[in-house]
């Protein structure tokens, strides 16, 4: 299907730049007339993905670039997060399991991939000749 618009966003791998990507995604959602909660969800998934690249693929080392492609289709919005760092080991995708009554079981991390899978309609991860691409799509009812 043909896109009805697209934009590429690039930041250097520093946590201080992540809110800029996040703000941009929320602003784009608002320009597309999405409601506040949907805009927050899109920002959240992108921020989780970009933070993961910064922290895990580039182990918080500055000087690398994180690229986000946003593709608009008539029925959905697609985000591609690209990096050339360490690849994601699919075994890392975990369920979120804890007992709300037992404080010691509560997770303090490991919720990012869960959130992306829960909020997006489609998530997949591919590595080809050193380029890692996480693709996430959300269908839009407009």
């Amino acid at each position: 299907m043909e896109t009805t618009g697209s934009i590429k966003l690039i930041i250097e791998s520093k946590l201080e730049n992540v809110p800029l990507i996040g703000g941009a995604v929320r602003g784009i959602a608002s320009a597309l007339s999405l409601d506040d909660v949907s805009g927050y969800h899109l920002e959240l998934c992108v921020v989780e993905a970009v933070t993961n690249v910064t922290k895990h693929a580039y182990t918080l080392e500055a000087g690398n670039s994180v690229e986000l492609n946003i593709l608009l289709f008539p029925d959905r919005i697609t985000f591609q997060v690209c990096d050339r760092g360490k690849s994601l080991d699919p075994a890392k995708v975990r369920l979120l399991r804890f007992d709300p009554q037992k404080r010691e079981t509560l997770p303090e991390s490991g919720m990012g991939l869960f959130i992306m899978h829960a909020l997006m309609d489609e998530v997949y991860y591919e590595t080809e000749s050193g380029l890692n691409v996480l693709t996430m799509s959300k269908y839009l009812r407009r």
Binding site: E16, G22, D36, V37, Y40, L44, E48, K55, L96, R103
Partner: protein
């Protein structure tokens, strides 16, 4: 990350003055909370009225504060925006924390307990 704090009796009220609790600010949030808990604060209200973005790192920092308080105290949350509330629901953290609409109610809930 700027955190406004004040005390009402033995309840510490913490209100982040920034819009985001994310990977860039979570560590500082956690450290400051940890300091106050270390100084003996066991009943804490976290007022999220200014916050319109929390990610998994921010949520993790809040959970970490609750765990640090231990079982002889509590962390109660108030004034959560609809957006941020959706994250608590999605991760089922709304069943871990008492989430109240106003600061007064949150203080009340903590005072009735213990």
């Amino acid at each position: 990350m700027q955190l406004h704090q004040n005390k009402m009796g033995d309840v510490l009220i913490v209100r982040p003055l920034e819009r985001r609790i994310d990977a860039a600010t979570a560590t500082e949030f956690k450290e400051k909370m940890s300091e106050w808990i270390g100084a003996g604060n066991r009943r804490i209200v976290l007022n999220l009225s200014e916050v319109d973005f929390i990610d998994s790192s921010g949520l993790g920092a809040i959970v970490s504060s609750l765990k640090k308080i231990g079982n002889d105290g509590d962390l109660v949350i108030c004034s959560v925006r609809e957006t941020v509330m959706s994250l608590f629901r999605l991760t089922r953290m709304n069943r871990v924390f008492d989430i109240l609409s106003s600061e007064e109610e949150a203080i009340g809930a903590l005072s009735r307990r213990l």
